[in-house]
């Protein structure tokens, strides 16, 4: 049987974020909740359009990095990564049944840390009816409720979406969505966005893979759908490619000390994007990633400059 529980109350973290959102002077047209009216906004959180809830703009993916099996030494190391994530104000963690042991590892480590600000996001990925896989996800994560459940890579989406809608009504999930990556299946995703009331979509977006700018991101804004960005570094390929390219002058203006920060700021500064979910197994990289969620964000022209430099690099 599918687990169905009553909607839980807001956690303290969510309540705090909501309070910040309310007390903030305004929510800018670009989606940031600000504390001042400068063009360079101070990041607090970004918006989930379907509810108005605020979430931190940098989350964490678990593809490869948390698929470590029963290796206790590696688990202890990943616990430090998670600790750094939550200490820096992180919220969203995204996983999938496709990621090997990642969900099991997360469940183990999250039960040790018991974070208050977790925004749990996972996926269903099967040609079958998905009930068994979803139940297993609840068990592996050791949770009664997911914040977000998504259809992975649009697999069998008509059937899964119906189930997710029922689960949302029953309160066992708070939001539903669909995902794709590598710029694949955008046409089909666009069709789903037109037909189905979605809370979230997840797609690949970075200065190289920017096809989503053409149709999906504007459509998400029109439809009030939150956007999660996966592979903001192209699975490490972008940071590797840029490692010998000097940071441009605008990096200092944006308080960026590294390409990773600049790439993340490029991504989350898009007005349609709610959250980017880079993956890392390195504590220092996690701290670096999270710092991209603070300080001044690039303007539209600065984003264009970043994209040009990255393409040249």
């Amino acid at each position: 049987m599918m687990k169905k529980t009553a909607p839980t109350n807001l956690t303290r973290r969510r309540a705090l974020l909501s309070a910040l959102a309310i007390t903030a002077s305004f929510t800018s047209s670009r989606g940031w909740t600000n504390t001042n009216t400068n063009t360079r906004t101070q990041l607090l959180a970004k918006n989930i359009p379907s509810s108005g809830e605020q979430i931190p703009p940098i989350g964490m993916g678990t593809w490869i990095t948390f698929n470590i099996g029963s290796d206790q030494q590696a688990r202890a190391q990943r616990e430090q990564v998670l600790r750094a994530f939550f200490e820096a104000g992180g919220g969203m963690i995204d996983s999938s049944p496709m990621y090997g042991s990642a969900q099991d590892v997360l469940g183990d480590l999250l039960s040790r840390l018991a974070p208050e600000n977790l925004f749990s996001a996972t996926k269903v990925w099967t040609d079958g009816d998905g009930e068994g896989q979803i139940n297993e996800a609840f068990q592996l994560w050791r949770r009664d409720q997911f914040d977000l459940l998504q259809v992975h890579n649009l697999v069998n989406w008509p059937e899964h979406i119906t189930r997710l809608q029922e689960m949302k009504e029953a309160g066992s999930i708070r939001y539903l969505g669909v995902t794709t990556s590598h710029g694949r299946r955008h046409a089909e995703m666009e069709k789903i966005m037109q037909q189905v009331p979605l809370d979230f979509i997840q797609l690949t977006y970075n200065p190289i893979d920017h096809e989503a700018e053409q149709r999906l991101l504007p459509l998400a804004q029109d439809k009030g759908i939150a956007v999660i960005v996966n592979r903001p570094f192209r699975r490490g390929g972008l940071t590797q490619r840029l490692q010998n390219t000097p940071l441009p002058g605008l990096a200092a203006d944006l308080d960026c000390d590294s390409w990773a920060q600049l790439l993340l700021k490029f991504t989350i500064a898009h007005p349609a994007v709610s959250c980017a979910i880079p993956a890392t197994s390195n504590v220092e990289h996690m701290v670096e990633n999270m710092s991209a969620g603070n300080g001044p964000m690039p303007t539209a022209s600065q984003r264009e400059q970043i994209a040009e430099i990255v393409l040249r690099g």
Binding site: W63, I64, N67, I68, G69, S70, D71, Q73, A74, P97, M98, Y99, G100, S101, A102, N153, T180, H182, R184, R185
Partner: protein, 218 residues
């Protein structure tokens, strides 16, 4: 399926894989070494006495071990697809036993020819050990992990199986396992394993060609 790439199915990195192999050895090392010793004895006996059943039987046992223990318990931790390999490897063991029961003939090759043809097959194993830098007893050897066992099985069936059709039938699963493993190795940037598997593939081709030329001369 068209919307996936092979990289989508490699959900772990090389470091994690090597760590898994290390833990596998530390937990199951004694059993692996026992089976390896059994396989060596069975192979030497089989070649010198021209009794391929002893090699097939020992190899079938290895395939069952790899199915149930390696793929089913260890590889499954990192890769949901390992469950499919459990069935494939059990099928390979079953095929070897079935062939053995239905065809008792031996290869027409002499033991010296078999030995000379089989010798190059040791090269990938030695290269693997040197490049990976594992302790000699704890690397990816025959009986321990799928790739070397697949290479060894290919050598055995191509050299000892009297009927070429049966030899090819028994080569399908080992070849598929090696092919996918090589693709994974490329994705993981495991240059050593990629080179080793490609070398092994060259040996397969050379062996088949040698046998074919020999048959043409008869």
């Amino acid at each position: 399926v068209g919307s996936y790439s092979i990289a989508d199915f490699v959900a772990f990195d090389l470091l994690t894989w090597r760590s898994l192999i290390g833990r596998y050895w530390s937990e199951d090392g004694a059993l692996i070494l026992t089976m390896a010793a059994l396989l060596v004895v069975a192979t030497v006996f089989g070649i010198y006495k021209r009794k391929r059943w002893s090699v097939y039987l020992a190899l079938a046992l290895c395939w069952v071990w790899l199915a149930l223990r390696f793929h089913g318990q260890w590889h499954q931790q990192l890769n949901w697809a390992a469950g499919y390999w459990v069935w494939a490897f059990m099928l390979q063991a079953g095929l070897m036993i079935t062939v053995l029961l239905h065809d008792r003939r031996e290869s027409s090759l002499t033991k010296y020819q078999v030995a000379s043809l089989a010798l190059p097959w040791l090269v990938p194993l030695v290269v693997s050990w040197v490049i990976h830098g594992d302790p000699w007893w704890a690397g990816e050897w025959v009986t321990a992990t799928p790739d070397p066992t697949a290479w060894f099985t290919l050598a055995v069936v191509l050299l000892l199986e009297p009927r070429i059709i049966t030899a090819l039938l028994l080569s399908i699963i080992p070849a598929l396992s090696m092919l996918l493993s090589t693709l994974f190795a490329v994705v993981l940037n495991d240059i050593a394993l990629s080179v080793i598997n490609l070398t092994a593939a060259v040996f397969v081709v050379l062996t088949v060609c040698t046998l074919h030329i020999r048959q043409l001369r008869r």
